[in-house]
Amino acid sequence: MESPVSGAVEAVFREEHGRLLAALVRRFGDLDLAEEVTSAAVEAALVHWPVEGVPSKPGAWLMATARRKAVDRLRRDRTYAAKLALVQVDSVTELPEGAEFPDDRLQLFFTCAHPALAQEARGALTLRCLAGLTTPEVARAYLVPPATMAQRIVRAKKKIREARIPFRVPGADELPGRLPGVLQVVYSIFTEGYVASSGPRLQRADLAEEAIRLARILRRLLPAEREVSGLLALMLLVHARREARTGPDGSVVLLADQDRAGWDAAMIAEGLGLVRVALTGGPAGPYGVQAAIAALHNEAASVDTTDWPQVVALYDVLQVLAPSPVVALNRAVAVAMRDGPAAGLALVDALSGDERLRDYGPFHTARGDLLQRLGRLPEAAQAYGKALDLAGTDPERAHLARRLDGSRGSAVS
């Protein structure tokens, strides 16, 4: 059973974990040691706080405790200390309890998202180091066995240590090259939560919310970077529709059929404010533009009254900023809404030669939809069939099976 104090410790821990870890990494230059003493400090809190009460500055208490434990550990283990090439263990001064410590999380963000790390490890490390998730929690989030995730994290940490990936914030000249990588990691955590790539459920809201939480931290750390605001706006505007995206049985509800009253108005309002920030004061970046597209959907009362010419125009901008076959596909769908299914299908078919779309389910779904609307039902059924083969979650499969039946059923009648 959970006591109220252990609940308080957990809440504090989740909030303070990233800051604590980052500050310790900066001081000791070693992620393993920082993690070890962070956990030890939390364990100490679980022993002391129920007896002595939660201190007035819990984060500072945890920090002072963790630093003391790190110094103890390094005094006991001189070889380890020597390996870390620390100047002088004894010179590590103890922080007075209650003292504030600076926020070093930004450098940890850049380390966890370092391009030299495996793509699949970057999100996992970020969730673990900065969102304070445990390895089993990260494993659950990505639907992989805990042992697999543990191995992935160990491997990434070994590379950080042995290849000496630095803990540092890139300089102003490098930032434009490195920030997109950090944003991409946060966004990939979000999209994994938004449409789970596999499993029984369509959405994993926890993961989407963790991504939003991480983007909020990043925005506090980099308030002048408009793409950070753009990313946060995009995620809020999409996440605002979470309740309406699935039916009571977990089935897929398309944008056209969603009950827009069920969208989260407060979240949309916050997202719209951030879109303005992202698009003001200079050329927009890809996240700002995607957020602007999401905003057009959120502001419309229905699919029919959506400002499709504006959506198409924004996709044109996006294709210049961040060209990709998926952007071209989305643009084709928007053109279909503006000019009719035949115009959209012509664009979609023009993309069919791109092998990056061949195994991309939404490409075949979009094609099936346009063909169905044009009454070309046997071809529509074929496209839905392909999409069905590629779908990763049960609700997506059920939805596509229904549409496949629909295109076949009408063909017979």
């Binding site: 030299a116 042995e162 000496r164 990936i165 630095p166 890139p170």
Partner: protein, 116 residues
């Protein structure tokens, strides 16, 4: 911290220069590495057709064969070992190397430290 920069050159022209860079570029790079005080060692390798492989079987028999021959377009053409503070600095030096141009690539490998 020591890193080996393995130079996998792309297409090589008659005069030994890779596509998109000149011999002068290589000389400039080599000078820059040395002047930065990070140079530990480095060599450029003779043409791959001069390579020979040797293997010793469990019974001690030695097998010598011509090659290997390039199976990909990229061929190990040389290396540098540099001593720099961290991977980011090593990657910067790798990116400056002419071997990273013209379809070539650089592989950056930390040198193992056995705590000597």
């Amino acid at each position: 911290m020591k890193y080996m920069l393995l130079i996998n050159a792309g297409a090589v022209a008659e005069d030994g220069s890779a596509e998109g860079c000149t011999v002068q570029d290589w000389m400039n790079y080599d000078k820059a590495v040395r002047e930065a005080g990070i140079f530990v060692s480095g060599e450029s390798l003779a043409d791959l057709v001069t390579a020979t492989s040797v293997r010793v079987g469990p019974d001690g028999t030695r097998t010598v064969v011509d090659g290997p021959f390039a199976e990909t377009r990229e061929v190990l053409g040389g290396f540098y070992v540099i001593d720099v503070p961290d991977l980011d600095v090593a990657l910067d030096w790798a990116a400056r190397c002419p071997g990273a141009l013209g379809g070539g690539s650089m592989v950056v490998r930390p040198v193992a430290d056995f705590g000597a």
